[in-house]
Subunit: 307 residues, 4 copies
């Protein structure tokens, strides 16, 4: 198929301060489904329309943030292809043995110049989306909370954005869909896609490494964004921005926080993008509009709060 290579965001492992409130947040409020726990006490969750065993892993720790972000690739051969491409590119890779994450095959891990651990893997246990493969309905019963259909992407903060984008483009065949440039014309934000989505991962510059800006969940409509906002208000979940819109990707959005301070996003929309489409550039002056299309004002915490 035309869809080969690196397929999609497959999982993210998040650090949370206390598992109890975190599970209440991600299961009852966001509406993810718990599918497994492991001997280390990690909890595995998925969005309802995902087929694989999990996409979110919660690990209790003494500080919030992201341990690693994994992409599923088409097959074992593809995994080896990209392992070699990374090595040839001069990036050190580490092989995490199958089973270290529940139901997951071997993972090839590397660190980006921005200081983030990224993984590729080819195999994960099938779980299903709650619908049969024969004559399925359009959604299963029993959905809760904001009930996103999938984990969509992460946005990461760190330095060395141009080098990081180059790595994704040259070693991993990602497309640069949009970029933010600083006052001096340098790239301070990179939105990168491995599919026809407007982005599958994004990086925005800051003077440190390995920070998580947000984890994004896909909703089905602007009305589900409103419904999610209602849930946040009813339950006193801290909201940073939204319901709103990004100029970048055109996505409709809410930024909010989990109990550990990890930023979440509910996301809908965003254009379909093909590799022959032009790269979009946001200038320094219009970056506030690019990020906060409704309001045009840079929300202070957007650039100061990450985990």
């Amino acid at each position: 198929m035309a869809m080969t290579g690196i397929l999609r965001p497959g999982h993210v492992q998040l650090r949370v301060m206390e598992l109890g409130p975190a599970l209440h947040h991600y299961k009852e409020m966001v509406g993810l489904i718990e599918t497994a726990r492991d001997a280390e006490g990690r909890v595995y969750l998925k969005a309802w329309d995902e087929q694989d065993l999990f996409s979110i892993v919660l690990r209790e720790a003494d500080r919030p943030g992201m341990d690693f972000y994994g992409f599923k690739v088409l097959d074992a051969k593809t995994l080896e292809h990209y392992a070699k491409r990374l090595t040839d590119y001069g990036v050190a890779i580490e092989r995490i043995p199958a089973g270290e994450l529940k139901g997951t095959g071997e993972r090839v891990r590397f660190e980006t110049p921005s200081g983030h651990l990224i993984e590729l893997y080819a195999q994960k246990q099938h779980f299903g989306n709650g619908l049969p493969d024969v004559n399925p309905d359009v959604w299963p019963d029993g959905l809760k909370g904001m009930h996103p259909s999938r984990f969509d992407h992460v946005l990461l903060n760190g330095d060395s954005i141009p080098e990081t984008a180059k790595l994704f483009q040259e070693a991993l065949d990602f497309d640069l869909s949009e970029r933010i440039v600083g006052p001096d014309g340098s790239m301070v934000g990179a939105f990168l896609a491995c599919s026809t989505k407007a982005h599958d991962v994004a990086f925005i510059h800051e003077e440190s490494k390995g920070r998580l800006h947000h984890v994004s969940f896909h909703l089905e409509s602007w009305d589900e964004i409103r419904h999610a906002a209602d849930i946040m208000s009813k339950n006193y979940i801290p909201v940073e921005y939204g319901p709103g819109r990004h100029g970048l990707t055109r996505g409709l959005t809410i930024y909010f926080f989990d109990p550990s301070g990890n930023r979440n996003e509910t996301f809908h929309g965003g254009y379909i993008r093909y590799p022959d489409h032009p790269v979009i550039t946001w200038t320094h002056e219009e970056t506030p509009k690019g990020i906060f299309y409704y309001g045009h004002k840079m929300v202070e915490s957007f650039v100061t709060a990450n985990t």
Copy 2:
């Protein structure tokens, strides 16, 4: 990028009985944008968010229907790759010289077992989507009618569905996302994707060859479906079904007709699909629900009217 090979539905050439009413329909009602005409009198149209010069070509003729359906591939090398794959598969190909369609490079054409002319091409003149590549807004001013963002797919009627699906899968790397089976278990409907869309082309069986069932345009929301339905009612455009939903693809839909009797669709939604997702099957008994998820009744004209 992961998105390689055959990228997307690129164009369809439709036969219309009279150009005047057809242009009123596709420009003022549907809201496509005219971008060119050629010496043969053909009119070239595009949806607003498409980047290439055209996606719909109207040709005046004495009967309605589809002349051919074209897919854009990544590049010239990919075009030759698939030309060879088709030839190796035993399919005769015809090379249509560059320029036969305005601003379009060489096309490699073949006929499916179902009797449809399908084309691949690698190059088409860039036109843009009415927005700048620097600091773009989320939509351009001046949109008209139902203002779809893109031409999305066609559904074709003919015989030899299993052979046609096999050709798309084996020679062109399409994925089978969903299939309809007849009372005897044979495949009578095939939904095929070259991307993460639920389908980029579909075939449903009938005892003739080369028929067009519908041409589909993508809208941005269920509310735009309502708006499109309002326009159809105000302007006495014949509606066959909808606003409604398909079980197949989960897409929200309206079926309606152009003045020549070609069926159109406005389409929103549909799941995102990856190649490791299961193939969905619709049984004979539940096919009416699969196609007309709201109502469950097979609309008579759905199986009798095509062009």
Copy 3:
């Protein structure tokens, strides 16, 4: 307040063939809340955002249909005012003692020329909408099914439509918002309002008396209409029309049936109407468009099926 006299549709008593399936339908599918049962076995239900004890009463019987339709009036003095107005108009009234319906004060009942039993009452036990009166959220937790916010109106079939409309206008101070006229110019449909809604009750002609066409429930958005349609499809609830729209009232709609064959409607929208607004007329030729604004085709069962 400007809002005086007859306030709103307060209740309808429906006959159902079997209470079990009816309760499954109205509670689990439609999403009404059961608030009481009485010694006669009647079950009392309400929509979540209604304040009074009930709006729908189900009575098991050997045929479906409507026993009576009641309007709440402002207060006891208003009830006596309209009792006298009806008597002065020449209409016989019956007084149903307080308590015959749970938690409900005395009802003044009369029969319309169309053969329907209509009631007025001033008092009903308060139940609340699940939200506090201090710092309420925008909706309560625990809503089920299509979760309408209120019982909205009924449409009734019978003869003597002009006489019935005249009674509502002259004795009860309703406004005629819209009317349907037959080929000979006579009124065959009357939409009547006691508020700023486009209608609080409607009558459409047929050659019998006292028939129920449908009971309507108000949803909050076009997206809730879609959600309701999903539920109907998932649960094989028979749908007659929709998601669609009426030209009359502009309301967005689905017509569907309860297990006893009583037609239900989910309804959203409809204009706000003031008494100084013009009466809208639908001619015989355009009545199909007026009722089925999407499609323009008179659905056969619309004029043949009632209870």
Copy 4:
């Protein structure tokens, strides 16, 4: 009809600094329709679905703000009834002769304790909503901008809120639907309705008199709110809050400013309210949630900016 007495917000006269930019804003951006100008240079505008000649009057002046706010009453007799009620209540009334505003009958004007000029009138020239009274479509062609269906209400700032609310309730038969109380339990906000809307006018305390907080326009859906937000962003219209929601009234909202600094609102939703419904109270602690249901943070300018 039940709908008698004071019917609805009929007009507001706004002061704008320069007519040119104001007309661009209200006509091209908001999408009001200009229907008349007068010898004084005032411009008369209406929302598309209003029947009367105008609802917004723009007057060029050296400071922004509101000159007066007028309610339409049912008829001349009602006008005299309320003139007497006001006089009996001890409020001085002024009679503005017919014709002072274009096409408008005599107006009875008084000043509220909060320092605002309020008017009642019974007659205004009919203009229509662009749709015929026979077989109308659901909206007319040619709508522009955010195309609200009506002018909905104003929110006013001033002192003496309890006295002002009392006047509306006791002399004008308005209902108090919601109130905000201060730390000491005193009423600092009053939401008042003359219909089944959640409010037709509102007052919030500040230590001055006669200030305008915002003029509100009704949109048809949450999706139209999004569309309006897109227009504001594209055109750099200053947005204060939203798309968001109020806990008070449950309305979906955007606050934005006209070029003179007058605050506008686009508004959708809000519950239907009857006079037998409980009054809702917002405590001091939860007032930020009541006003800014999405976010819970009091926007600084909300309490400092008015005109």
